[in-house]
């Protein structure tokens, strides 16, 4: 079998970026959660906020460290495997991704250091300020990533000179309409991911009957946060769907598994899309709902995949199912948070053990939603790497052979397996042990040595 460097490079990129996104998706929310806890501690003076803070701070440190290590790999992927993309689109993507690297490292060098080591060395107000700056910094970091990716989805503010892009309007690139929808969508996704983890951790302690006071605090804050944010996210998610409908009709049709143009259009709830024969098997659909979801009227005409040439269509299976998994996770979060808040209001939140089990088992829901959302966006953009400007198969480094990429992919899988085994074990042990009295960090712990803060694993 001939090894295809394009396909293998895509698999490799998907692999390293999927491992990477787990950590930023978690730390963006954690940073904000820590700033909140520190602010509450300063405002109320209750020591429990400090205990919970110190506990999540350790988890944050390890996750941040893993994010940094897997992020360095990302900084080189565009050049090693996507040389044509890097060269032709570099005048726009280079500065955006460059700023992300600069932002992340400046953050690490300054306020994150204060957060890790400065508790005893700076005033409480300045410490809170540092926490807020780290929270803002992680969001700012995601801003550049989303600006870059939104530009790849819907390129704006550029001109083509000698086959290469040149920026003509930076403002449109970093603050365009698409970016202003997708960035909040990602931020809310990150907050929800963290919220579900906080809820699950609290539920875990309740189930094991330990750290009850801290568990209650985590459940109250986590459930409240998710209950408020999830309707907002559903709304912003709908706006994100609007941009896809407007700018990427083929992706929209793939997500809907709509093969032929229809008026009015059905909404396919679930099916098995059969790409070879351009039809759906085992389809369950609702008449007219497709028009309503897409255009807000009950009789609009909606475009089907067969309106596009085969070489211009994205794959259907992955966007179709990934999108449904993402929405499903959103509904799970809605159910858990609203039911939990109702129980809380009735004053018996911690009593039904089955609910605590549900809340505990839902800890990965946010991660699954974020990953499946990204799979929808990225696979749905195919066959383009920069929509309408550069095809993925033309973007790969021309000198690469399939064998080269197989070597690197195998290497990444092996190295990440080791890295993840140890990293996840640390985080698991920290979570299992739970909050304890505040302990001072070792004097030589630094931003890239977060394990030092985590202490002995045994």
């Amino acid at each position: 079998m001939e090894l295809d460097p394009v396909l293998l490079s895509r698999i490799q990129f998907a692999f390293v970026v999927s491992f990477h996104i787990i950590f930023p998706a978690f730390t963006i929310g954690l940073a904000a959660w820590l700033a909140t806890l520190e602010g509450m501690h300063l405002a109320t003076g209750r020591p429990i906020y400090r205990r919970v803070f110190e506990f999540w701070m350790k988890v944050f440190a390890v996750s941040f460290g893993m994010g940094v290590v897997t992020g360095i790999v990302m900084a080189f992927q565009f050049g090693t495997n996507w040389g044509v993309l890097a060269e032709k689109m570099g005048s726009i993507q280079g500065p955006l991704l460059g700023y992300e690297g600069f932002t992340a490292f400046m953050l690490e060098a300054t306020f994150f250091g204060v957060m890790l080591l400065g508790r005893e060395r700076v005033s409480p107000r300045f410490y809170l300020f540092a926490c807020c700056m780290v929270a803002l910094g992680t969001m700012f970091s995601s801003f550049w990533i989303m600006a870059n990716n939104s530009w790849m989805q819907v390129p704006v503010g550029h001109a083509i000179v000698d086959g290469r892009v040149e920026p003509t309007d930076w403002w449109a690139i970093v603050a365009g309409a698409v970016m202003l929808v997708r960035w909040p969508h990602m931020l809310l996704g990150a907050f929800l991911t963290t919220g579900m983890c906080i809820i699950a951790t609290g539920a875990w302690y309740v189930l094991r009957d330990i750290h009850r006071a801290e568990a209650r605090l985590m459940l109250n804050w986590g459930l409240g946060l998710v209950a408020v944010l999830i309707p907002l996210q559903l709304f912003v998610g709908h706006l994100t769907g609007d941009y896809v409908h407007q700018h990427q009709p083929a992706k929209f049709a793939a997500i809907e598994a709509r093969w032929h143009s229809e008026q009015p259009a059905r909404e396919v709830l679930i099916a098995w899309p059969d790409e070879a024969n351009e039809r759906n098997l085992f389809e369950l659909s609702v008449p007219r709902l497709g028009s309503f979801i897409a255009s807000g009227t009950w009789d609009s005409r909606e475009v089907g995949l067969t309106d596009f040439a085969r070489e211009d269509r994205p794959p259907v299976l992955i966007p179709f199912f990934a999108f449904r998994i993402m929405v499903g996770m959103g509904l799970v979060m809605l159910a858990i948070s609203w039911f939990g808040c109702w129980l809380r209001w009735r004053g018996r939140l911690e009593r039904p053990r089955w609910f605590m089990w549900c809340a505990f088992l839902c800890f990965p829901s946010g991660f699954v939603a974020v990953l499946s959302g990204w799979f929808t966006a990225e696979v749905g953009r195919q066959p383009w790497v920069v929509y309408g400007l550069l095809r993925t198969r033309d973007a790969v480094t021309p000198s690469l052979s399939g064998g080269d990429v197989l070597i690197s992919l195998t290497g990444y899988v092996g190295v990440y397996a080791v890295l993840m085994t140890f990293g996840m074990r640390y985080i698991y042990k920290l979570l299992r042990r739970g909050p304890a009295g505040a302990t001072p960090p070792p004097p030589d712990a630094t931003a890239r040595r977060p394990m030092a803060l985590a202490g002995e694993p045994e």
Binding site: A75, P95, G98, Y99, T103, E166, T397, P398
Partner: protein, 334 residues
């Protein structure tokens, strides 16, 4: 591709930033990779602890400069970023794995009992591999990188040739020399004596390798020869390098604390300048110049007002602050 194009001021600014970042990276990560290389050649546990302790506060910040180089290259000279990373696909992979294992070993060796020997080996091997592939990449670059339509036009194992292997060995020796000089400055007792004994051997070995590489380059490359011919003043740099190495040896004999390290840094600076004289204005020798590779002016100025004026000074100040806070001899045991 025309090489008569004049680079804009902003392109020159970013080329300067990258040159300085490379130099800072080579010196800073050079000494801590060097300590990692020397780590493999001592069995004494107390000395190993002392070696780790001497670089503990610095190594992660040192690697930040690698990201500065990568981010600036991508942003300001995307064509060079694409050609380099394509040409050095395998070395970059090995570099990343080396740095990851080395960084992780730093933590995990303290926490594990059974696997400690493995992590110790990972620390040594990761450091050595990272140093070696950097040197090999420089060697492959000096030989010239085939480029077609602004993309690398060769095979992923082209770098695995005798000359790059020679420069790879040279840089391993060079980083080990920097590491030994660092230990002379930061350590005390038997470790410092050991480092002092190693320096003449490392300096001699490195000088031999580099002299051979320099001669081979002049013999092989008409352009490098002609550049040096047009710029005879440039020969002052190899001369300074030679004098610096003599100074390193004299300083080592007198057991001076700072002199060996400072003069080794001067040696690296002069080697860097020698390369500059031989290759300027090429960024990818004989194929892509600074002006050819530069991103659009609008991109360079977008970068300048944020990263150039704000981020880079912050990183520089942070670096200086860390070295100032942890100045003087390292004392092991907190």
């Amino acid at each position: 591709m025309s090489s008569t194009l004049q680079p804009s001021n902003l392109a020159l600014f970013w080329a300067g930033v990258i040159a300085v970042a490379i130099l800072v990276y080579v010196v800073l990560d050079g000494f801590d990779l060097g300590v990692g290389i020397l780590f493999g050649f001592t069995r004494d546990e107390a000395q190993r602890e002392q070696m780790m302790g001497s670089i503990a506060p610095f190594w992660d910040g040192n690697e930040t400069w690698l990201v500065v180089i990568g981010a600036s290259l991508y942003a300001a000279f995307p064509a060079v970023y694409a050609v380099f990373l394509g040409a050095f696909y395998i070395p970059v992979l090995l570099l990343l794995f080396g740095l990851i294992f080395r960084g992780v070993a730093f933590e995990f060796r303290l926490h594990s009992h059974r696997l400690r020997k493995l992590w110790d080996f990972g620390f040594f091997a990761g450091s050595t591999v990272a140093a070696f592939v950097q040197g090999a990449a420089v060697g492959a670059m000096m030989r010239g990188i085939p480029v077609a339509e602004r993309q690398f036009d060769g095979g992923s194992f082209d770098w695995l040739a005798p000359f790059p292997l020679l420069t790879g060995l040279g840089l391993v020796l060079g980083y080990a020399l920097l590491g030994a000089a660092w230990l002379v400055m930061k350590a005390e007792g038997p470790l410092r004596e050991l480092a002092l004994r190693r320096i003449p051997w490392l300096a001699g070995g490195m000088l031999g390798v580099l002299a051979l590489a320099f001669w081979l380059t002049l013999d092989h490359s008409a352009l490098a020869r002609s550049h040096l011919g047009e710029r005879p003043w440039g020969l002052v740099f190899p001369l300074i390098g030679l004098l610096a190495l003599v100074g390193v040896l004299l300083g080592t004999r007198r057991k001076h604390d700072v002199l060996p390290f400072a003069l080794t840094v001067l040696f690296f600076l002069s080697a860097f300048m020698t390369l500059g004289v031989m290759y300027w204005p090429y960024m990818v020798p004989y194929a892509i110049t600074v002006a050819d590779a530069a991103a659009a002016e609008a991109s360079l100025s977008f970068l300048f007002w944020g990263a150039g004026l704000f981020v880079l000074p912050v990183i520089a100040i942070y670096t200086l602050a860390v070295y100032w806070i942890f100045r003087g001899k390292t004392h092991v045991g907190h």
